[in-house]
Amino acid sequence: MELVIETNNLTKRYGALTAVNKLNLKVQRGSIHGFLGPNGAGKTTTIKIIVGLLRPDEGTVKVLGHELHGGKNEGFLQTFREQADSRLGIGYMPELPKFPKHLKGSELLDIYGRMYGMTEQQRKEQIPKLIEMVGLTGRENDLIGKYSKGMQQRIGIAQALLNSPELVILDEPSLGLDPVGMVEVRELVKNIAREGITVFVSSHLLFEVEQICTDVTIINRGTALASDTLQNVSGLLTGPAMIHVEVAQMSQNIINAVKSLPFVSNVTQTGNSLIIQVTTHEDVRTQVSKEITRAGGIIVDMSQKTSNLEDVFIQLVSKDQEGKTQ
């Protein structure tokens, strides 16, 4: 597997505060990698190190094969050229980006395009396409100083896609967007990924990450609590999952049949309802329903409460906080 971002023991301190603590982050090429964590977890700090805005105190960073920190380029007077080159393949949207107010939206994209070394032809093709894509058509010739927060966010997304990057890093892209804008951003991210571009997106919005990401890293107090595919991380939820079943006519037969299933750990009955605790995170509803039907029951309603990212997140983060107070 090819990694586009790889950090080893990445550590960053602000005075006494350790914002990023021995972080090992690995982002696979072609994935949509969610970087999830509560406020102050260290997401922005990590991203700023990756794009070369901050220097880490310890650890190494490799982006698109370029060693940025900790490699041969480390020294009192760092060579930033390696970094400048690595950024040729990166599109980055800062958290709440600020752009020069005296420039028009289209001028900004034009000047940034020149900084990427894009030819006039490339800029002429790419810029109107991007303006359209982020929904700023008609406003591209207004000064950025006159843009609303959401419009600045949109031009921020456009400039991150300017250079047809291999890797797009988005720091809270939907911050400050209206609900429609948030949906649009999610669609946009999925479309970007479909073109084979790796997306690394930080967020504290669980549903957002859950809807778009293939991989997820959960960070808290600068440390990764989990980092895997979305499916595997969701499966991290400890404790039993539960299935709720409602039958037309309850009988002891049904209860015994359900209890006989190998993955069932406990069954509680209230009237015509059963709450079945299972030890697996697979979807076992078909097996349960088959067993109930065989025992003569008629199922009226059935639902499985699968572990979702929110549970995992809350569980991991609260466990981590407990660890801190001990």
Partner: protein, 317 residues
């Protein structure tokens, strides 16, 4: 395992450098402050043109060749051109998207410096054309017009001493206000300290090594000894100041009188009547070249500080 970057042709450096120059130019040109200072500079040149005429001087063939926009304009032009070219990016947060483009910090720094250079050259060219044409109109035919570009280059060098100082303060403090105030304090300090030392101390030669006016004296040239007397005050037309602010004038004098010497003096204002004390004599060539060397030393040292601070800066914004 990290695979290497998929090959992406590495675009050449120059177009990316130009992109940052363009970025900086647009900023400067659209700054209201800049337009204001250019207007103010025009007003000052107009005063320079009109003042001698006001005292009934109607003929001066040396006006154009010895014209200098003056130390206040050096400082103000430097201030508006670069006071926020680095620190302003930090203050507005625009440094973040800028430095995450594939341009190195050194490229950004050089481009900003180059943009300042172009803006100052263009502004001064316009001011010098104005002063030359104005000189001809007010004071009649001008001698040595071929030396006007030399005066202009001298003025640009003088200005760059302040460009470097202001950039360094701005780059270290990341604050435009600090850059402006720090620059202003230094400017006033040099002007005051310079004129105090020049009138009370016999060590006026020390002033050759700080930015500003330097020591004062008189050029020993027979051809040029005409004095202008305005209501009992004699203004010597061959008075010389040796500092970095006078590179333009000294270069022009050196070109005109390559072997002339200068008597460095000070005026003791505490004796009555004020008496002129002779300090030492040196050649105009030494004065001109030394002031250039001193100016370049300051420019290089402060630009290095500015570049170093910028390159090492962590972007916390």
């Amino acid at each position: 395992m990290t695979a290497t970057n998929r090959e992406r042709p590495r675009p050449s450096w120059l177009p990316r450098f130009w992109a940052v120059v363009r970025y900086e130019m647009l900023w400067n040109i659209r700054k209201k402050k800049f337009i204001g200072i250019v207007i103010a500079a025009f007003a000052l040149v107009t005063v320079d043109l009109a003042l001698p005429a006001f005292f009934n001087v109607s003929e001066n063939p040396d006006f154009a060749a010895t014209f200098s926009v003056g130390n206040l304009v050096f400082f103000l032009i430097a201030l508006v051109t670069v006071m926020n070219s680095i620190s302003g990016e930090f203050e507005s947060g625009t440094i973040v998207p800028l430095l995450t483009k594939p341009v190195s910090r050194t490229t950004v720094f050089l481009a900003k410096l180059f943009a300042a250079f172009v803006i100052i050259i263009v502004t001064y060219t316009v001011l010098f054309i104005y002063s030359t044409v104005g000189g001809i109109v007010v004071y009649g035919p001008q001698d040595n017009l071929q030396l006007v570009p030399l005066a202009l280059i001298g003025n640009v060098i003088s200005t760059f001493v302040w460009v470097a100082i202001i950039l360094a303060i701005g780059s270290i403090s990341k604050s435009s206000l600090f850059a402006a105030l720090g620059g202003l304090v230094l400017f006033i300090a040099f002007v005051f300290a310079g004129s105090i030392i020049a009138s009370v101390s016999n060590e006026a030669g020390a002033l050759n090594y700080v930015p500003g006016g330097g020591a004062t004296g008189a050029l020993n040239v027979a051809q040029r000894s005409q004095n202008i007397t305005i209501q009992n005050i004699t203004v010597s037309m061959n008075s010389i100041s040796t500092g970095t602010d006078n590179i333009g004038t000294n270069l022009v004098n050196y070109a005109r009188y390559p072997s002339a010497t200068v008597n460095i003096t000070r005026t003791d204002v505490f004796s009555t009547p004020p008496k002129v004390i002779q300090l030492y004599t040196e050649s105009i060539g030494l004065i001109a070249l030394r002031s250039i060397a001193v100016a370049f030393a300051y420019i290089l040292v402060f630009l290095f500080i500015a570049w170093f601070a910028f390159k090492r800066a962590q972007i916390l914004e």
